[in-house]
């Protein structure tokens, strides 16, 4: 940063240990061979036995049988959280900010989850276990008292790190389901833009790697928002406000997306971009075909794997968290298929290495 851009020179002084550690963690990510074994399992007990021979080790050893998918889910997540917290606790200066940025996305999810839950008259004690532990912060649980976004901001979130993202969606309107989706997406938009700008400000390899990943994330959101908005009461102007203004689609693609009326027109927008055309080609919902969502995930995984090709940059931390998350989703998917004896779709996980 600054006048002389030699960020790499001093990188290892502050972050060398953590980067090394993260690369070590990454080596423990399950590979194709492991998944092949996992999909051959007949029961969750078999799955546990096989996971024992991977870096997960004895993480299920203290669980009484019979195992359930929920327990596996909890333990998998716990492992990620422990690793992440370790990184966060040892992080210094910029890296700490970077890791906090990663946490913010979970915070947004948690807040939205709690508000939606309260609107549907669920008990707080029922909602809490569903919150992602990485996104828990002090005042989080009090969001249930808020009736409007202004309330939410003034009473609770003004203290939390999410406050700056919130400034665009303050209104006196009462909270309802549509409203909440809008809030979620506005928050996410602000968050993504802030994160993107911060990474760009870092310069060097971090900017190179992270801007690509976050740009893709932004584009994906724009696509998904557009596709999901068909047939709802969301107006085109409101929809356009939700698009994160970063990434490859910005600005031309977004203008076109804002005009889109159906899936085909979205696809036409994607045709202009080589990466996205590939993703939209040959998607479907039948067996053997991949959904658009899966294609997006696959692309994300490739980008995250590639991020490990560069050294002296913060991207590895982000990518590691995302890869671990994908891995958790994979293992859970496989476990669910095994538990529900629904083997025909067991192969639709997304391999990482």
């Amino acid at each position: 940063m600054g006048l002389f851009d030699f960020a790499e020179v001093g990188f290892n002084v502050d972050n060398g240990f953590l980067e090394g550690l993260t690369r070590g963690f990454k080596n423990g990510v399950l590979c194709k061979e492991d998944y092949r074994h996992l999909t051959q399992c007949d029961s969750l007990e078999d799955l546990k036995l096989h996971l024992q021979s991977t870096t997960y080790g004895n993480f299920l050893a203290n669980e009484p049988s019979p195992l359930t998918v929920a327990v596996i889910d909890d333990r998998l997540r716990e492992k990620l959280v422990v690793e992440f917290q370790f990184l966060r606790n040892h992080a210094y200066k910029e890296l700490a900010t970077f890791l906090d940025f990663i946490k913010y996305s979970y915070m947004i999810d948690n807040i939205i989850l709690l508000i939606t839950g309260t609107l549907r008259q669920r008990q707080l004690s029922e909602l809490l276990p569903k919150c992602h532990p990485l996104g828990i912060f002090d005042q989080m649980e009090t969001v249930t008292i808020a009736n409007s976004t202004a309330d939410l901001y003034n009473a609770i979130l003004v203290d939390s790190p999410l406050a700056p993202f919130f400034k665009d969606c303050i209104s006196e309107e009462d909270l309802d389901e549509v409203n909440i989706e809008v809030i979620r997406n506005t928050l996410y938009k602000a968050y993504l833009e802030a994160f993107y700008d911060w990474c760009e400000g870092c310069g060097g390899a971090t900017a190179e790697v992270m801007c690509e990943i976050l740009g893709f994330e932004a584009d994906r959101r724009s696509f998904i928002i557009t596709i999901n908005s068909f047939g709802t009461e969301l107006s085109k102007e409101d929809r356009a406000k939700l698009y994160p203004r970063r990434g490859k689609l910005y600005p031309d693609g977004l203008t076109e997306l804002a005009r889109a009326d159906d899936y085909e027109s979205v696809k036409r927008v994607a045709e202009h971009y080589t990466e996205y055309r590939k993703l939209f080609d040959g998607t479907g919902v039948g067996i053997g075909e991949k959904t658009l969502e899966d294609k997006f995930f696959e692309h994300e995984v490739t980008m995250n794997v590639n991020s490990f090709m560069q050294q002296f940059q913060y991207g590895v931390f982000y990518s590691f968290v995302k890869l671990r998350e994908q891995e958790c989703r994979n293992v859970i998917w496989i476990s669910e298929c095994i538990a529900q004896r629904h083997r025909s779709k067991i192969d639709s996980y997304i391999p990482i290495f």
Partner: protein, 843 residues
């Protein structure tokens, strides 16, 4: 030869075990710890193996035991350890164990839930009590405040105040102290400042009923107006995990409830104590047995893991295992199998059958407590190839010796010896303490015999160098005599240093003439103490230590090369002896050996200090074919010129010998072999010449197949590869003869550094104290001594010791072992309960 000289002879054996006897047999073998099983189903997944369910049952049992262990730890009850080593229970007893653990776990869980409920109740009551007490306090304070203010401003009986007070609602509760600030803030913001919060700390620490952690909490009381605010406040309380308690308005009611709460707390305390006692009783029972249970379960698990490696033969109802075992112990293994069969009551005996194999067997060196650490040094470099000469037994002496050459100081050696002795003598005590869980300590303790030896040898070399904390002993009396110089009083008084001329009669008793006459003698053993105070001490010692380093190095390399001969003879490799070993031997003798010979020659025969020859120039001249002459100080003995030319020619001659002889012989042999088979082929082909071509083709295939079968040569390398390897070896060896010799100079360098450092420490630290006059002298000396002692141990013993250790290690790994040691084997890891229970082997 001792068993350490070569690794144990191993053999591959197959075991045929009856299904019902297999468990008992493997159990016996595990106690024995002499066989290492190979996996016969490497392609089968872990969860598809035969005994996977039994392994899982063991896992489950282990989990229960771990649960009980955690409970023990929570209550800080120590596990009873009487050193028992129970045998693995029979499979049928497993059900019994399972039932027992199941019951214990359930009991424990029940007790825990009860206790948790009780504790929760207790916590609530305590918090209630605290609230009532604090609330009383708040209200009293407020009343006082009210009255004073009321008196000053308005009439206390005006209806407004009464009405206002009536409408004010309040809630009281308890919250974690750490959350109080954010609680206060959220409250203020969410209610827009329309509430009034009072809080007070609860002085005593409370116990969290679920985790058992100690937590600090605060009591708070919130006043507000209206129902809407009440809802809001309650939601915030819920959100921040504050517990609310009902608190009556009037002080009389509060007092009544407080009394009720007090009595209930007392009752609950009694019940809690009883539960605690019951829990303790159950846990002490568990503590008595848990260690034995753990061992049993681990043994069963290990057995089933091993059985999973076996091949299951369903038709004959037996399991087939394959294992490596030491040939010498086959008898013991047979006994174990017989015993196992008997125990299980099987009618058919288990069979052990030796199998011949091309595979390289594992390397197994039987060590004891003493040899273990030395073998460890060798294995750290590389496990020896099967049955090649193991350097470990020689290392026992050479390692401490080379260390001592660099660490030569009588005093430092003594300290090290004492440290080593303490470790060795109290060995049993330290071993009984088991895991101190410190890697550094384990390493030091593991090397205790090495430390002992290093200390002892350092004392010896220290005696030779005549240094003890850099001071000298005058044991035999110096052979220099200053008075013979006849200095006058003036010279003695003024000079800070004086020249002693050994040629002046009587000054050096060892001077050649007197020496021969027997009237005088040099200092009989080690360094003359007078050198300690000489100005040119370093110059003198450098030359001496440098030369002895080279002589020592040559001796060790020569020894290594001799061991190579043992290897060649043992593996019947005549080709290598003639084409490699002999030229190598000649080469090293000519290039380094000759140097050593002239060093010794000069030491022994040279008497005139004025005309001592220069060996360095002499050596350079030797390679330049310059005739030695007295003029340039290179003349040593008559005929030197001829000898030296011969030596150089030998060196030059050995090079092509090493480089070409072996590949040439191999090439020649191969061609002969090829000729022979060619002839066979021609013969066969000739016979077939008249036959139909198709048959000939068939015949050809068969023929070539059969040749391959009769002479299988899996190790046959490409000729170019052999040539390249030979070139590398030759270059390596010839360069190494020089570079390794130079490398041994580290013996001198480190020894010099050590003696200089310790001298500096003495003159800069200890000397200051000793040279002061009383009364300050003794006090300063005392103070300075501790400084000296700490520096001696920290720098000279630990740091210098580590550095000397490292260099000794390098000299062994690189300079010594490169002459004969291949180290391409793999270690023998027997299936043994002992190592499994100690946690040395994972699964």
């Amino acid at each position: 030869m001792g068993s350490l000289f070569r690794s144990e002879q191993m053999c591959l054996a197959q075991l045929y075990l009856q299904s019902e006897a297999a468990f008992a047999c493997v159990s016996k073998l595990g106690e024995l710890g002499l066989v290492s099983f190979t996996d016969l189903n490497p392609n089968v997944n872990a969860f598809q193996r035969k005994f996977v369910n039994d392994v899982r049952r063991c896992d489950e049992m282990e989990r229960k035991l771990r649960f009980l262990e955690r409970e023990l730890k929570k209550d800080q009850i120590g596990v009873y350890d009487n050193g028992d080593n129970p045998p693995a229970p029979a499979p049928r007893e497993m059900i019994e164990l399972e039932a027992k653990f199941e019951k214990l776990e359930n009991d424990m869980k029940e007790i825990n839930t009860n206790q948790e409920a009780l504790k929760k109740n207790f916590l609530e009551l305590t918090e209630m009590k605290q609230i009532l007490m604090k609330a009383q306090h708040f209200f009293e304070e407020m009343d006082r405040f009210d009255t004073t203010e009321d008196e000053a401003l308005i009439d206390p009986n005006t209806p407004q105040t009464v009405a206002a007070a009536g409408k004010l609602g309040f809630v009281a509760g308890v919250i974690l102290r750490s959350k109080l600030p954010s609680f206060e803030r959220v409250l203020w913001r969410a209610c827009r400042g329309n509430v009034f919060l009072r809080h007070a700390e609860i002085e005593m620490a409370l116990e969290d009923p679920v985790t058992g952690d100690v937590v600090n909490k605060s009591v708070f009381i919130i006043f507000f107006q209206g129902d809407q605010l009440r809802n809001r406040v309650q939601k915030i309380c819920e959100g921040l995990h504050a517990t609310l308690y009902p608190c009556p308005d009037t002080s009389n009611e509060r007092r009544e409830i407080a009394i009720g709460v007090m009595t209930r707390i007392e009752d609950l305390q009694a019940v809690l104590n009883q539960t605690e006692d019951h829990r303790h009783l159950v846990l002490t029972q568990v503590a008595l047995n848990i260690r034995v249970w753990f061992i049993k379960v681990r043994k069963i698990k290990a057995i089933y893991h091993t059985l999973n490696l076996f091949n299951v033969n369903i038709a004959e109802k037996c399991l087939i295992a394959q294992c490596w075992c030491p040939t010498n112990d086959l008898g013991k293994i047979q006994d174990a199998l017989r015993y196992g069969t008997e125990v299980s009551g099987s009618s058919v005996a288990s069979i052990l059958q030796q199998v011949t194999t091309e595979e390289q067997p594992p390397t197994y060196n039987r060590t004891n407590m003493f040899t273990e650490s030395f073998q460890g040094i060798i294995d750290a470099f590389g496990v020896s190839t099967y049955q090649e000469v193991n350097p470990a037994p020689f290392t026992i002496i050479t390692f401490p010796f080379l260390f001592a050459v660099m660490f030569g100081d009588f005093g430092h050696g003594l300290l090290m010896l004492v440290f080593g002795l303490v470790l060795v003598i109290r060995e049993k005590f330290y071993l009984a303490q088991k895991s101190a869980d410190s890697e550094i300590w384990d390493m030091i303790f593991g090397g205790r015999y090495m430390i002992l030896f290093m200390g002892f040898f350092s004392m010896y070399t220290g005696f030779l160098y005549n240094e003890c904390f850099s001071r000298s002993f005058n044991v035999f009396g110096s052979s220099w005599n200053v008075s013979a110089m006849n200095f006058d009083a003036v010279t003695l008084g003024n000079a800070s240093a004086l020249d002693l001329d050994p040629v002046t009669p009587g000054v050096y008793r060892g001077y050649p003439d007197n020496y021969i006459n027997g009237s005088g003698y040099p200092y009989p053993y080690g360094m003359d103490p007078i050198w300690q105070s000489a100005e040119n001490k370093i110059t003198f010692q450098n030359s001496y230590k440098m030369k002895s380093s080279i002589v020592l190095g040559f001796a060790q390399m020569l020894f290594g090369l001799t061991l190579a001969l043992y290897n060649h003879i043992y593996f019947k490799d005549r080709l290598s002896i003639i084409c490699e070993w002999i030229p190598q031997m000649i080469f090293i003798w000519c290039i380094v050996g000759y140097l050593c010979v002239i060093i010794l020659f000069k030491w022994i025969t040279w008497k005139d200090p004025a005309s001592a020859p220069s060996l360095l120039i002499g050596l350079i001249n030797m390679f330049m074919f310059t005739a030695p002459s007295k003029a340039d100080g290179t003349f040593l003995y008559t005929g030197q010129s001829t000898v030296q030319i011969f030596v150089v020619l030998m060196i030059v001659f050995c090079l092509p010998w090493m480089l070409l002889a072996k590949p040439a012989v191999i090439y020649y042999r191969r061609r002969q072999k090829a000729n022979r088979s060619q002839r066979n082929y021609n013969l066969a082909g000739g016979e077939m010449a008249d036959d139909v071509p198709i048959i000939e083709q068939d015949q050809l295939d068969v023929e070539s197949n059969s040749i391959q079968q009769t002479e299988p040569d899996p190790d046959e390398k490409d000729f170019s590869e052999i040539m390249i390897l030979q070139i590398i070896h030759t270059i390596e060896f010839s360069l190494n003869c020089i570079s390794h010799t130079a490398s041994y100079l580290r013996l001198w360098a480190l020894s010099l550094a050590h003696s200089e450092l310790s001298e500096v420490l003495w003159t800069m630290v200890m000397h200051i104290g000793l040279s002061m006059a009383p009364p300050a002298g003794p006090i300063v000396t005392y103070a300075v001594f501790w400084f000296f002692a700490v520096l001696t141990v920290g720098i000279l013993l630990v740091m210098e010791g580590l550095s000397a250790f490292l260099h000794a290690l390098r000299l062994h790994w690189v300079e010594f072992q490169s002459k004969f040691y291949k180290g391409q084997g793999y270690a023998f890891l027997p299936f043994s309960f002992e190592s499994i229970i100690q946690g040395r082997v994972d699964e």
